[in-house]
């Protein structure tokens, strides 16, 4: 499985390099604007960086799904499926390599946020005043800086859990279209509809789950929906196992 990961990352390298180059170019522009004390330029760079961040997340999602869809829909799949690797290993390698990209993206994002925040505060006096006001406000509401940092981290984790659940659901939908619906017309559309239905069901079930009280303050707010996070993880594992079993028993390339 780990050998497959190497080739999986290599296959997606070009798309990832292009997007990260764009992000780092925007970051360079943001740094230049901040050091030049150009408020307008800094604002523009931050807006684009925000969009860039979303673009990276979307790209991770698209690359992961496209890679699997291509694997089942083209003859490239022979390379992978002829290797002595189980179907669990094949899907696992795709998810793990996506996980590596996700972890790398998270680290880069947090580093850029911390870096830009500190430079921004040091370069713009008004921002420093605003920070002081916000810190006082947060403290009076019972929040502290460490809680906010935890909040950022938890939000990243929740974001990636949701993203990976969606990826696993997409894998299951694609696998179903390549197995149970392999001989049907419009199987691509069927696959997309299955994906929508699976996500709808998960969201519907999550809506019925009770909120849980854990701790106080920010932590409590973040962990309120812990049952829905757990549901996402269960759905992710279920979709992973379902896809691997279907591939093993039914798929014809």
């Amino acid at each position: 499985m780990f050998k497959l990961m190497k080739y999986e990352l290599r296959r997606n390298l070009t798309a990832i390099i292009i997007l990260y180059t764009l992000i780092f170019a925007l970051e360079a522009y943001a740094l230049y604007s901040m050091f030049a004390k150009d408020q307008r330029g800094t604002a523009i760079a931050f807006v684009f960086l925000l969009f860039g961040g979303f673009a990276v997340i979307m790209l991770v999602f698209i690359v992961a799904i496209q890679s699997y869809s291509k694997e089942l829909g083209s003859k490239y799949s022979y390379m992978t499926f002829m290797t002595p690797t189980s179907t669990y290993g094949i899907i696992g390698s795709k998810l793990l390599s996506t996980g590596i990209i996700a972890a790398f993206t998270t680290i880069i994002a947090i580093l850029l946020i911390v870096l830009d925040y500190n430079i921004f505060i040091s370069q713009f006096a008004e921002a420093k005043n605003t920070e002081d006001i916000l810190t006082q406000l947060a403290t009076s509401m019972g929040y502290d800086v460490s809680a906010l940092l935890i909040s950022v981290l938890v939000n990243f984790i929740v974001l990636w859990i949701n993203l990976f659940t969606s990826i696993c659901m997409a894998y299951l939908a694609i696998t179903l279209s390549a197995t149970a619906f392999a001989n049907k017309k419009f199987r691509g559309i069927i696959s997309f509809l299955i994906f929508l239905v699976l996500n709808y069901i998960i969201n519907k079930i999550a809506g019925y789950l009770p909120v849980v009280e854990i701790g106080t303050g920010v932590l409590n707010e973040l962990l309120h929906p812990i049952l829905s996070y757990l549901l996402s993880i269960v759905a992710m594992i279920g979709a992973f196992l379902g896809s691997a079993i279907l591939l093993d028993k039914k798929v014809s390339l």
């Binding site: 490239y76 002829m82 028993k249 390339l253």
Partner: protein, 230 residues
């Protein structure tokens, strides 16, 4: 060694393989013969594990098709299947990574013999002839228990064909088995030990090549004409 028992493969209303049972023995070169659409490729893909049969079972030394058998089965499909970013060097490394039986030295030698030794040429930039030679080179560079070559001589010039045929015979040993499908039956006739004739998803004749020649008093090429012209 390799057993196919009651293999049936259906696609919607179409039956690619009706019912095939064959026993493949080690140390032999088999010709899998039949016209287009007779079920040769489907059978090979079922043995490789790329296609699941509707019914029946394939076993290699008693083990059903699985990752364990894939480690011992080398398959050359008719389609171009290498990742487009790969060069001949990348492909060699990929096979070395996944298959213990891959002989890198033999692969490098074949690349030179077949004029494919520019390791920087990407697969996506190769001509169909180069791709055909590369697929054969990769498949026969594995010293696997079973090697399946689906139309290995298609699109390959006569000199390269001879090199490929020679490589197969030179590297052949009693523990390996080759199953080769080809329309170029006369090219295969010289090297095969056994022949399996498939028609409409059924085995219509099979056996030791020499015994078949004696029984029918014909060459394998003439038998092919007789069976499929009917």
């Amino acid at each position: 060694m390799l057993k196919c028992e009651g293999i049936v493969k259906k696609y919607m209303s179409c039956t690619a393989i009706q019912n095939i049972s064959v026993d493949i023995l080690p140390g032999k070169i088999y010709a899998l013969l039949g016209p287009n659409g007779s079920g040769k490729t489907t059978l090979m893909k079922i043995i490789t594990g790329l296609i699941k049969p509707t019914q029946g079972k394939v076993t290699l030394d008693g083990v059903s098709v699985s990752p364990a058998t894939k480690a011992h089965v080398s398959y050359m499909p008719t389609e171009n299947y290498f990742y487009s970013y790969m060069t001949t060097k990348d492909i060699g490394n990929f096979y070395k990574d996944f298959y213990e039986d891959f002989d890198m030295n033999l692969y490098k030698k074949l690349l030179v013999d077949l004029n494919l030794d520019n390791s920087k040429t990407k697969v996506s930039n190769m001509s169909s002839g180069m791709m055909a030679k590369l697929k054969v080179a990769v498949a026969i560079s594995r010293r696997s228990a079973v090697t399946l070559l689906d139309e290995p001589l298609n699109g390959i010039d006569i000199i390269a064909r001879e090199k490929i045929i020679n490589t197969i015979t030179e590297n052949f040993n009693p523990s390996t088995t080759y199953i080769i499908s080809s329309h170029l039956v006369d090219e295969l006739e010289k090297i095969i030990d056994s022949a399996i004739f498939i028609k409409d998803g059924l085995v219509v004749e099979s056996g030791d090549a020499e015994a078949l020649r004696q029984t029918y008093d014909k060459t394998i090429v003439d038998m092919y004409r007789q069976i499929y012209a009917e």
